[in-house]
């Protein structure tokens, strides 16, 4: 096993372990902190798989912006810690069964296909090459995604503003 291979398995176990930690935490803030570690591990994995630009985006957008948004909302709302009542087996049993079934299907699919045993070659997509490729072949998709972000921005402002006015009316 090469050094890259060892790095892949180490990063994979870090990502998976912190994701499982995030799912099982009762405290939502702890869950989000674990998830940040998971996303940072994913960023390094992207770098290992030859996508340095996506690694930077993952750190900036996923681990930075989205998780900070989560933390802000969690700290704005008053969490009731005892909301998740009920038998723990009754909730986790079917979910874990579903996940295990899905995983067995994936592993079966990978084992069946001999093409999946091809070892990956290290490669590097320079950010310059990547940017040229995106804007030469997928410029329309870039415009569409920017429109989607604009719509999301308008929706967030509209929904957030409506709630604020309602609270102001309720006060007197």
């Amino acid at each position: 096993m090469t050094l890259y291979g060892a790095g892949f398995y180490l990063l994979g176990s870090i990502i998976l372990g912190t994701a499982v930690l995030a799912v099982t935490r009762r405290n939502t803030v702890h869950a989000v902190i674990c998830l940040i570690v998971s996303f940072l591990g994913t960023a390094v994995l992207f770098y290992l798989l030859g996508a340095p630009f996506l690694a930077a985006l993952e750190v900036i957008i996923y681990a930075g912006a989205i998780m900070v948004l989560f933390l802000f909302v969690i700290m704005t709302l008053k969490m009731e810690t005892s909301s998740e009542q009920g038998t723990s087996m009754g909730r986790w049993g079917p979910a874990v069964l579903l996940g295990a079934l899905f995983l067995i299907l994936i592993v079966f699919m990978v084992i069946r296909d001999p093409a999946d045993r091809v070892p990956l070659e290290t490669a590097l997509a320079e950010p310059t090459t990547f940017g040229r490729f995106v804007f030469q072949n997928y410029w329309l998709a870039v415009e569409i995604i920017s429109l989607l972000l604009l719509v999301a921005l308008v929706a967030a402002i509209h929904l957030g503003k409506g709630k604020g006015e309602q609270m102001k009316e309720d006060e007197p």
Binding site: E58, L77, L103, V110, L148
Partner: protein, 101 residues
């Protein structure tokens, strides 16, 4: 040479399964969104691995758009959660039963 391509797919599938379990088992709207984020992360890993497997940049482009969609989805989803919390005062999906009588 890194690892067989199948190992990347299995890792992505495991992360996706963790997100799936989170979505099904947790009864908290914020943890539901966290599950969606984990699943999107798994999908992104699969795409980057496939881009390396076939030495094509298209997979990485798809991850770029995936990150954009995730940002839009999370912003709207969190605002919807805040609005629902303002209406009902709870984050439990079972508490949203105004239509029931």
């Amino acid at each position: 040479m890194i690892v067989p391509y199948g190992h990347v797919i299995v890792l992505a599938g495991m992360i996706f399964a963790v997100g799936l379990v989170c979505m099904v088992a947790r009864r908290n709207l914020i943890m539901l969104l966290v599950g969606v984020e984990i699943m999107m992360n798994g999908a992104a890993i699969a795409f980057v691995g496939a881009a390396l497997r076939w030495q094509l940049l298209t997979g990485q482009v798809f991850v770029l758009f995936l990150i954009g969609v995730a940002a839009a989805e999370v912003s709207v989803g969190l605002v919807l959660i805040v609005a629902a919390y303002g209406k009902t005062g709870s984050l439990d999906p079972d508490a949203y039963n105004i239509l029931k009588w």
